[in-house]
Every structure is written in C-alpha cells, then in structure tokens.
Symmetry: C2
Subunit: 154 residues, 2 copies
Amino acid sequence: MTPSAAPLFSPRGSAHEIEEGQLFAPKFDAAGLITCVVTDAVTGALLMVAHMDAQALERTVSTGEVWFYSRSRQALWKKGESSGHVLSVAEMRVDCDQDVLWLQVRQSAAGACHTGRQSCFYRAVVRQGPGAPLTLAFRDDERVFDPAKVYGGS
Amino acid sequence: MTPSAAPLFSPRGSAHEIEEGQLFAPKFDAAGLITCVVTDAVTGALLMVAHMDAQALERTVSTGEVWFYSRSRQALWKKGESSGHVLSVAEMRVDCDQDVLWLQVRQSAAGACHTGRQSCFYRAVVRQGPGAPLTLAFRDDERVFDPAKVYGGS
C-alpha cells in the first residue's frame, strides 16, 4: 500500500484491535481511498470533505501539509498547489472502525472551497412543503477570495 | 432513485448549476450512497461519518430523524434503533459538488458511537519518530454509555 521503506500503517486486526487498539490500520476502500473530514483547528468549522490514497496519507504525515487524491483528476493533489491555500495539520484523528480520517487544520489563507468560500458547505437543504422537491438556501456563502483570480481562469 | 410519488431530488445539471444553484441534486456513488458528516448542533463536535442511500435520505427528510444505510449490514438503518440514541436534524447542508451531506443534529441521549463514546473520533494519529509506524493516542475517549447494556450484548 505504501512505497516507503518502513510501513507507516499496520495490518487490519480484529474488530476489537481496530476499535480499541493503538495501531493505525486505516481501511482504504475498493478504489484505495479513505474519506477525510477537514475542520478548522481554530474555529472548529467544517471546511471540506475529500479523499486520500495511501500515498497522499503518507505525504501528509511526512510533510505536515495536507495532500489528497483527486477522484475527478485521478491524481495526487496537494491542497493549495494551485491556490496557495495550503492546509497544515494540527491534529489527525481516526474513527472507531478506522475508515474515516478527521483532519484539524490551520489555513495559510482564507477559503478552503474552490468556489471562493470559506467552507464547501454553504447551502442548506430545505423543504418548501410536503411533496415538494428539496431546494437549497445559501448560508455563510460570502466569497473570501475570487476564484477567477486565484486559479487564473474563468 | 426514490420510491416517493413526487421526486425529492433534482437531476444533476451543469457544474455551475450544481455549485451555484438552488436545486438539490445529490450525487450518489456507484453503490448508490452519499457520505454524511454528522456534528452536534449545540457543541459543534464531530460525532460520526456514515452513509445514506436515496431511501435513507428520503426518510431523514420526511421524519426529521436520521436514517442511514449500513454498508456492513447492507440494510436501511435508523440511527438509534437499537440504542435509543436517536438523532434529530437541526440543519442539513450539502457541499459544493453535492456529493457530501453535513447533518447538524440534536442527540436524544449522549453517545453517538457504538463503542459508548460521545464521538467516533476518540483517537489521534501520532508518529513516534521518522520511519516509525503510526500509532494512536486516545483523546476524549471517556465512555458516556455502556455498550453492553445499551445493545444488550458483549
């Protein structure tokens, strides 16, 4: 799973070992990915959810900066490589069955979402009435940077 | 995708419509699931991450209580159906590309994790030194309920 000389991850053990043990034995899915929840270490705000493969996780651990695997681009991706909005890991946690990571991060610049918002979660799901299709209401949707300028595109 | 008479969800549109629009067009993965991040609406704490299929999402919306799809049991699952620790939705949000839901919930009883902890994220990933395997350090790991009593088993 990992190209490093000494393996960073331990093999998956029993359910008890996975849930109550002290070995880090992350479960990657069939595509080799693990889900990562990213929150702001200072404010606690939920910023984004993305995925890591073993290599992204290894780079994140070794550099202290956040790397992901982009499913759309099918490539290793350093968060902030285009925008400069790099994320540093304050603490990484894992959930009970070790198939989700929680990254508490410090942001080098405001705006974790590629749309220019602080967070990717800028819309609430609302129901107008029984039987009506669900719609979205904007919340906390102020742009903190201009994506056209930051990414140099449209 | 949904058995209801009137569809709750809108079809996926262009990237711009998905990111900047007001139609709820959730993206379910190849297995028909969408990832859900669950936080405590009062404290903001990250409690758990789970998945919904279209039916679980529909029941959650129609009842205001949280339903998931259990991948291990391959079944619709009302959170708290065994433990009584039901979650009520205070607000639901969706991320920019509409493939992750964020549920801010009110807990009917303490302890969202089946291990008896408040949160599933009770261990930090730590590195003892360069090249050393990653290990886990317990944090916020006090049990707030006894899973043996609540689930009636070991």
